[in-house]
Symmetry: C2
């Protein structure tokens, strides 16, 4: 890791912290300051202040100029005192998994290993430590208050009526309708909530494959995702050194991190599907729980009985995890071991408060396969597993498609809510057509906005490289921004309290020809400024090259209004 | 114009022509040939043919290798014999407008003037020549059959049940629910139909402003738009030499061309809004009708009474035409002359079969202004004007927003249908949030897919440069492809006959690892191939860099299915 000092900056922005009232917490936000509106009335210049706009901030300490983050040390361990104060978890004297111990003992890995070792925590004997458990006890944890303040950041200060309170977060988590992915071994992550009652969240997938990028590039992508607004990260690395790559990513990540443990399991048996076993998988689960993963995608709902349904499809099985387990079941002629061991899995997860994201191994991979019998059969099993997890207070997400035409999008949410008892839905897109490889961030942002509007809690981004190759840094940016757009479009459509504040401020800036404010308020100020500059011949006039000086509608309309008064 | 020989090619594609059965017409389409599916069963290689896929083709003669198009000569005049055969239009001995005559007489314009002069046609005395007139007489014109064959290109050959017939086109045009923009002085354009019963169409805006590009670049953008699938073109040029630029664009365009005549009117009075007059505007209408414009945006529904409503808005008036007319009304203290002269306008348009696209001068320019009183007040006037035009058999489009949050999109279509008697709706986006300048092709593709799904007939593209500057060629490509995606997503959602054929073929190619077919079937084969190549280390293996060799879901799933059998 060459570039050890990382920071993130946004134009005209400062980091502010809002204090909790129930707990001693400080919630970071970004405040964008604005220029005055200047108008001329009867020949006299009039100035009007524009209040700064506060926006949800996923960039963590990277955007605080008072915190020097050294990625070789990792982020500050924000939640450690909260966890200690609860006194229901114990620090282990060593890592429990054989996998982790052997990696730590291997001197050949010294060069790529994260420099600091943090011993793991686990629930003390007989204790329940999940956010869902606390919520059901009626306890509002610091995590819940922290998440609530973030969700509500615009409203209290602006006098906008809002029902978003710490108690709402607690009650939604208690009911299973929302989760706070906050593994106790990832205390660096800032708590956030995923549920239909809250702002729509977006997930970024990163991770190297055997053919591509290294650890440094993946860490850069992770921080880059947080800069552009990614709410969670999934590390989908395959290839060798998964363990070390994940350690770097988790220690650097101010947002929750998810993984798909079956990928590492397959690497550990040399890619031979039939050799996968519950025992091997179990060790990997423990390894990752103790590293600090916040949620696992587990394809426990794909059963042997579903395989004939998938064979009739246009594109069969397109989920990697689903395909691995289908291969295992076909070769071993046994039921999916993630299904048969699901209670054991939950027993592990609850000790670290790692959430389960029930994978949709049979998500449709084409318009032709959308909402088919295979997809719905698996979804129904996910509903059954949801209740198994909830019985142990393990937090649950349900994964969804995939490829779905617009008119079949709403049915996905409705069926998911019905079959999965209201557990939050987390979808990949969906892509609304198959015919645009190279532009699938757009085909899927169309579907994602729609599915989020109807209640999907988190949408997993798709980059322009989907179906074609691994995304690079610019693809990550394109994917994250497209999904911030989709999520925000859904928040507006849901009339989420305060969601429109930023739109209103940006549009007012536009109407006032406060160009800098327009850029600074946008999701990607750098790109907006770059495009603006590309078209300009002279810099400070109040029109752009779209219309030129005579044809600027807003300029003309203002003149008209002045005369009309 | 340096590069006079223009052509368009698509990989693995050939131009085919489908003959009419009612008329002697040949309708151009693009046929994409596919590789065989190769599988191995019990050690024996099995080959299965894949039928070629025929797609709607907007590239006109440019993609026919048998036609050498010289842009200095213009495109072949396809519809000229059809028009002559009807015998209800006369060729004029000279151009009727003073504007056109003075441009042709000006020797200083020789260098930029289109080299060929085609004398204009106009309805013979007492004759009605609009497609709507013919349709109401029960006549199926060659234009109607041509459009119907294009709409139906997939179905008959594939045995897919389809209700899309020449008679349907006729009856929809007769009822005003669809239009065929086919000015008699643009016989180069291939007929196409715009209406909710047909494939969703997309419009591309091009045109220079005083600060930017020249004629050659605009012609290139026009042909480029046709290459990527733009169904119509609007030339929004401002600045000097509008007349000559338009002539080049029309003579080069195989798709209908629209304009906003008030722009030229404003140029003709030196940008001084108060000097605009009906007489000056009238001459420009005639000039453009005789050049071959196919449809005019006319902001005749914006009334003086609406101005106070616009003053209450976040972003006032953002339509250039609307702002010009608002300025005129405010300064002159008179009613909009496009409204008071609307019958006169229709009398001109009907003589050339130029359609009117009733402009929404009060379209919302921000989320805060969506579906407000100003917008709806104007829409109601557009409904009144629709009936005025229809009385004269002038074809009508209704323009719509703009900026609209997702939950207010459907109401726009419903109100438009109700107030405008089912005339086809033509919207700009809408953008579903204001906060992403630099990405407004995406913010608006989300809204466009949605509004088209509910019945909007044509969606006007938005490029990444919207709000920031004039689009360059790459921006045109990004905008057109984003809108082809939105339109196709809507066609799928409407279950348009045959719409899913291309998705199915592409997904089958994907599942078969026929990479070339996947690219060739996509909306932008060049981009897909470029991204694929960017990630590849070795070329011909059956996986991509996304997953690498061990983790390819489709490969694994196929193996699983083989074993499971």
């Amino acid at each position: 890791m060459n570039n050890t000092a990382m920071n993130i900056s946004y134009p005209a922005s400062r980091k502010i912290y809002v204090k909790g009232t129930l707990h001693d917490i400080s919630v970071g936000m970004r405040q964008i300051s604005l220029l005055d509106t200047i108008s001329v009335e009867n020949g006299v210049e009039k100035r009007e202040k524009n209040a700064p706009v506060t926006v949800y901030d996923t960039s963590g300490p990277y955007s605080d100029p008072d915190i020097a983050v050294d990625v070789r040390q990792g982020l500050p361990r924000l939640r450690e005192p909260w966890i200690e104060r609860r006194g229901d978890a114990e620090r282990l004297p060593a890592f429990s998994s054989a996998g982790c111990r052997s990696r730590l003992a291997d001197p050949s890995l010294a060069a790529i290993r994260f420099p600091v070792v943090n011993l793991p925590r686990r629930a003390a004997k007989g204790k329940s430590i999940t956010q869902m458990y606390y919520a059901r006890q009626g306890i509002i944890t610091p995590e819940m208050e922290y998440a609530a303040i973030r969700e509500n950041q615009q409203c209290d200060a602006l006098g906008i009526p809002s029902h978003i309170t710490p108690e709402l977060v607690r009650s939604e988590v208690a009911a299973g309708r929302a989760i706070i992915p906050a593994g106790i071994n990832h205390p660096e992550a800032e708590p956030m909530v995923i549920g239909a009652s809250f702002l729509v969240k977006i997930n970024t997938n990163i991770g190297s494959s055997a053919l591509s990028s290294g650890v440094e590039e993946e860490v850069e992508k992770a921080i880059w995702s947080c800069k552009w607004g990614g709410d969670t990260l999934m590390d989908l690395s395959t290839g060798s050194n998964i363990h070390e790559a994940r350690e770097w990513i988790i220690r650097s990540s101010p947002v929750p991190v998810g993984t798909v443990p079956i990928y590492q399991a397959l690497e550990s048996v040399g890619g031979e599907v039939a050799k996968l076993s519950w025992e091997g998988y179990r060790d990997i689960l423990v390894e990752q729980c103790e590293q600090g993963v916040d949620y696992f995608t587990i394809h426990a709902g794909l059963l042997r009985a579903h395989l004939p349904l998938a064979q009739k499809r246009t594109t069969g099985i397109v989920s990697r995890g689903g395909a691995i387990l289908a291969g295992w079941m076909a070769q071993r002629k046994e039921e999916n071991f993630l299904y048969t061991h699901f209670e054991d899995i939950c027993e592990i997860l609850k000790q670290y408060d790692v959430a389960v994201s029930l994978g949709d191994g049979l998500r449709p991979g084409s318009i032709g396969d959308a909402n088919d019998a295979a997809q719905l059969a698996e979804l129904s099993v996910l509903g059954e597993l949801t209740q198994v997890a909830w019985k142990r207070c393990v937090q649950v997400l349900i994964e969804g498609p995939g490829h779905v035409p617009l008119h079949k999008v709403k049915a996905n949410v409705d069926e998911q809510v019905r079959l999965c008892h209201g557990a939050p839905f987390y979808t990949l897109g969906p892509l609304t057509t198959d015919i645009a490889p190279g532009y699938d961030h757009i085909t899927s942002a169309i579907g994602a906005a729609q599915i989020a509007r109807y209640g999907t809690a988190m949408i997993c981004y798709v980059t322009p490289k989907e179906h074609l190759g691994l995304p690079n840094k610019e693809d990550v940016r394109a994917g994250v921004v497209a999904y911030k757009i989709a999520a925000h479009a859904a928040d507006l459509a849901k009339e989420y309290p305060g969601a429109q504040v930023r739109d209103n401020a940006l549009s007012k800036a536009r109407f006032d020809f406060r160009w800098r404010d327009q850029f600074n308020l946008s999701l990607d100020p750098e790109r907006a400024l770059e495009y603006y500059k590309a078209g300009r011949l002279n810099d400070e006039s109040d029109h752009c090259t779209m219309c030129g000086p005579h044809f600027c509608a807003m300029k003309l309309a203002k003149e008209a209004c002045e005369i009309n008064n």
